[in-house]
């Protein structure tokens, strides 16, 4: 039983992740764009065990949100997973260099595997 946060603009995606996290007995706070993600993260109490960020989102990209998170003393120690379909070595390198703990391509894993990865990250 853990509390997680995901920023994901695609409703089919976040709904799927909501389902799988709920089915696993976890709670998932969802934000549908970058700004909302930052607002919700700031407001959340307690803070999530892992922050999962999509990259291509309206208003603020996942990279920008990640930068903000890493600047925020309350959030900077929470592991961040970039969960995206944006492939490419340069994007992965950029995300990891900004402080992401993991860079996961959505299509490479089924939802249950994603949950397992998030939980594994929370346990680190």
């Amino acid at each position: 039983m853990a509390h997680f946060f995901i920023a994901e603009d695609d409703k089919f995606m976040y709904r799927m992740y909501e389902r799988v996290f709920t089915l696993g007995g976890h709670t998932l706070e969802v934000a549908q764009d970058g700004e909302e993600a930052l607002t919700k993260l700031a407001a959340m109490n307690p803070k999530p065990a892992v922050i999962v960020l999509d990259i291509m989102m309206p208003k603020k990209s996942g990279f920008e949100v990640l930068e903000e998170v890493k600047k925020n003393p309350e959030l900077k120690d929470i592991p961040v997973m970039l969960l995206t379909n944006l492939s490419g070595d340069e994007n992965k390198r950029k995300g990891l260099s900004l402080g992401a703990a993991e860079y996961v391509i959505k299509s490479d894993f089924d939802p249950k595997q994603v949950v397992e990865k998030v939980i594994a990250l929370a346990k680190k």
Partner: protein
């Protein structure tokens, strides 16, 4: 002035030699031969003079003998005492004196006083006056006074009438006893006649002169002067035929009293002269004959042949025919010289022939070269025109610059691309257009210094992107090994804005495509996954469950296709980051084989790895794993019985991994298309097996291996028998 011929020079030299020799002979003869003759002549003259003197002395002696008879006569002895005039008259008379050959008989007493005297003219045999003679003797008592009985006077005295021989003895008894009663003196004038008489004895022409004579001839005076200067005799040739000699005779008083002159002919001298002339004549004739002989021999042996040789050479020069030859004759030095000239002529002929042949070749070559040059010049002109047209039509800016940066050639595209308002004259002008964004000068100078071309892309220029290339131009090197000197540079400026835009849009497309395609696909597959997994209890209808599984598999395959496209795109663009690190290939193979063993066993075929020790390889571990997965996966896919074997081998520099199957095999026709995009080894496009993969696997494997410095190949394949694929990687 025309130079003398060799012949004239030799002749002149010979004549000069003969003349010089003649003079030498003449001088030697005169100096040695004639002088010796003169010496002999002088010696003979001295002998004559001595003989003349001796004759006079001899005459003195005769006078003395006559006198001594008289002086030791008792009657004479007594006469000095009694002075008996009768005795005197009977005994002493002119004829008697003439017979005695004396001019004066002088009787003197012991005091030297003349008490009786008779002077005669011998020729006339008469008495002449005696007063002057008497007076002379009275004045010269030393002549007629004798200290002892042995005392005597004998010598020449200059009597008033001329030089005379005077002998005087003391009067004594016939037995030679004294005391003396006085003295008796005889005098005999040495007049011309007497001298002549004496000379006749000696066969000499003798003359005498009183030493202190006053009316003497110049010759005699000269001789006297020489005598006074100390000469004992004076010898003077008066003519080539006569010579005179002078000597003095001393008087009783020890002073020179008489000059004796002897004149003789000169037979010795004449003989000398004759000998000299004969010698000279003989020598001259001999010398002239010698000269003639030498000239003759030289003429015959050398000059004629030399002149002939010179003429021959001259003639050859004149007609300029080097095929002619000179005549040498005997093989002495001249003959050899002629031979050598002939030899040289032969060489000259040969070399002229060679030169002629060479010249013809050269001319021929020159003609050909000129033709070639014309053709080449035309070709070059055309080539240049084409080149300039090409350069001018180039879409990118083209500049050829000198080493110091001056622009030698540029095309219109340069100004168009760079939007230059003024035509640039130097590289610096172009560099100025770039401004601070790009240091063109530094870029080009570095290229020239390092002597390698430099290229820089994506240079921002206004709202454009430019690609700049700077390359040094080398002078053609002297040898293939040497690098030439840099003589300038080429500058290319390309407008890559459009390409950049295209590239960007393609990148954006792929980025979007990957995201936008995969996201809904992920939702489809994720949800079907959830349904099949979490809600399997509620999926009681097998048909519905089957449909869901199909949706899940199809969406999964679609995701794979998109992923393959993305990977190919990245590989083709070089965007894929490939590691180059050593890793253990056997371990990777083992892992993949372990993963795929289940798949193989599901199909009822075997999968084995025949491991053997291999070195570590250099490459990207994950990408290699991908390739191995693809090759083994394909092998399993196309094998329906038998199995798949993986083996490794190494030659020390590369490691080869072979994947061999006993599958369906690939036809030769399809082998050619194996590694192409979308080409699976099926018979045709419509009939291809698209149920299991995109057919991009081998193509991706090939790209990956190429990027790692390795290679994927089909080793062999036979339809129905199976295939062997392999890839190689370099040893770490």
């Amino acid at each position: 002035m025309k130079p003398l011929s060799v012949r004239s020079k030799i002749l002149l030299t010979l004549i000069a030699s003969v003349v010089a020799l003649s003079f030498t002979v003449y001088f030697i003869s005169t100096e040695l031969l004639l002088k010796s003759y003169l010496d002999i002549e002088h010696e003979a003259m001295r002998e004559d003079l001595r003989r003349a003197s001796d004759a006079i002395n001899e005459f003195e002696g005769q006078q003395m003998i006559k006198l001594s008879d008289w002086a030791s006569w008792d009657e004479a002895y007594e006469f000095a005492q009694n002075m008996d005039p009768q005795w005197a008259e009977e005994t002493i008379y002119a004829t008697g004196l003439s017979n005695l050959d004396i001019n004066a008989m002088v009787w003197a007493d012991l005091e030297g006083k003349v008490f009786h005297i008779m002077v005669v003219d011998i020729a006339e045999r008469t008495e002449v006056a005696s007063s002057t003679v008497e007076a002379y003797f009275n004045q010269h008592p030393e002549l007629i006074v004798h200290e002892s009985l042995e005392d005597a006077t004998q010598g020449i005295t200059l009597l008033p009438d001329g030089p005379a021989i005077v002998v005087s003895l003391p009067l004594k008894t016939s037995v030679g006893e004294g005391p003396s009663t006085g003295s008796l003196t005889f005098a005999r004038y040495l007049n011309e006649a007497k001298i002549k008489e004496i000379a006749e004895i000696t066969h000499l022409e003798v003359t005498a002169f009183p030493y202190d004579g006053t009316d003497l001839s110049t010759e005699v005076r000269n001789a006297r002067a020489q005598v006074e200067a100390g000469a004992s005799e004076v010898i003077v040739p008066t003519s080539p035929y006569a010579i005179v000699g002078y000597t003095t005779l001393q008087g009783v008083d020890g002073e020179p009293a008489l000059l004796i002159r002897v004149e003789t002919s000169r037979p010795i001298y004449t003989q000398g002269i004759v000998t000299l002339y004969v010698f000279m004549a003989t020598s001259s004739v001999a010398l002239i004959l010698f000269g003639i002989a030498v000239v003759f021999l030289l003429e015959r042996l050398v000059i004629t042949r030399f002149v002939k040789l010179a003429k021959d050479v001259d003639h050859i020069n004149e007609v300029q025919d080097i095929s002619m030859r000179v005549r040498g004759g005997v093989k002495d030095e001249l003959g050899k010289l002629a031979d050598q000239i002939n030899q040289m002529l032969s060489w000259l002929s040969e070399s002229r022939e060679k030169t002629r042949v060479l010249l013809e070749e050269v001319k021929h070559g020159k003609d050909r070269a000129e033709d070639m040059v014309k053709v080449r010049t035309k070709e070059l002109a055309e080539e240049k025109a084409r080149l300039l047209a090409s350069i001018n039509s180039l879409a990118f800016g083209f500049v050829i610059a000198s080493v110091d940066g001056g622009i030698l050639l540029k095309n219109p595209s340069l100004s168009r691309i760079m939007k230059l308002r003024e035509e640039p004259g130097k590289i610096q002008d172009i560099a100025n257009a770039f401004g601070a964004t790009f240091d063109l000068m530094k870029f080009c100078n570095e290229s020239l210094e390092r002597q390698v071309p430099s290229e820089k892309s994506d240079i921002s220029y206004g709202n454009m992107f430019l690609r700049v290339l700077c390359a040094p131009i080398f002078a053609e090197a002297d040898s293939p090994e040497a690098t030439g000197t840099v003589i300038g540079s080429v500058l290319l400026i390309e407008d890559t804005t459009e390409a950049k835009v295209i590239q960007r849009s393609r990148e954006e497309f792929f980025s979007i495509a990957s995201h936008e395609l995969r996201t809904p696909l992920t939702a489809i597959r994720g949800n079907t996954d959830l349904l099949l997994d979490m809600y399997k209890d509620k999926l009681n209808d097998p048909a519905m469950r089957g449909m869901l599984e199909d949706i899940n598999a199809s969406s999964g395959r679609l995701i794979s296709i998109v992923n393959d496209f993305l990977q190919i795109s990245r590989l083709e663009q070089g965007k894929m980051e490939i590691q180059r690190q050593p890793f253990d290939l056997s371990e990777v193979i083992t892992q993949v084989v372990r993963t795929l063993t289940e798949l193989a066993s599901q199909k009822g075929i075997t999968l084995s790895f025949e491991s053997s020790p291999i070195p570590q390889v250099m490459g990207d571990r994950d990408r290699t794993e991908e390739v191995i997965e693809n090759l083994i996966g394909n092998a399993i896919k196309f094998t329906h019985q038998g199995g798949v074997t993986v083996s490794v081998e190494s030659d020390g520099t590369r490691v080869k991994v072979k994947v061999t199957d006993t599958g369906i095999g690939i036809s030769e026709q399809n082998q050619a298309n194996l590694f192409r995009k979308f080409q699976q080894a099926s018979e045709d496009l419509l009939a291809r097996d698209n149920s299991q993969s995109t057919g991009l696997g081998l193509y991706i494997s090939k790209l990956l291996m190429n990027a790692m410095g390795g290679a994927v190949v089909l080793e062999e394949s036979q339809l129905g028998k199976g295939s062997t694929f392999s890839f190689t990687l370099p040893v770490a």
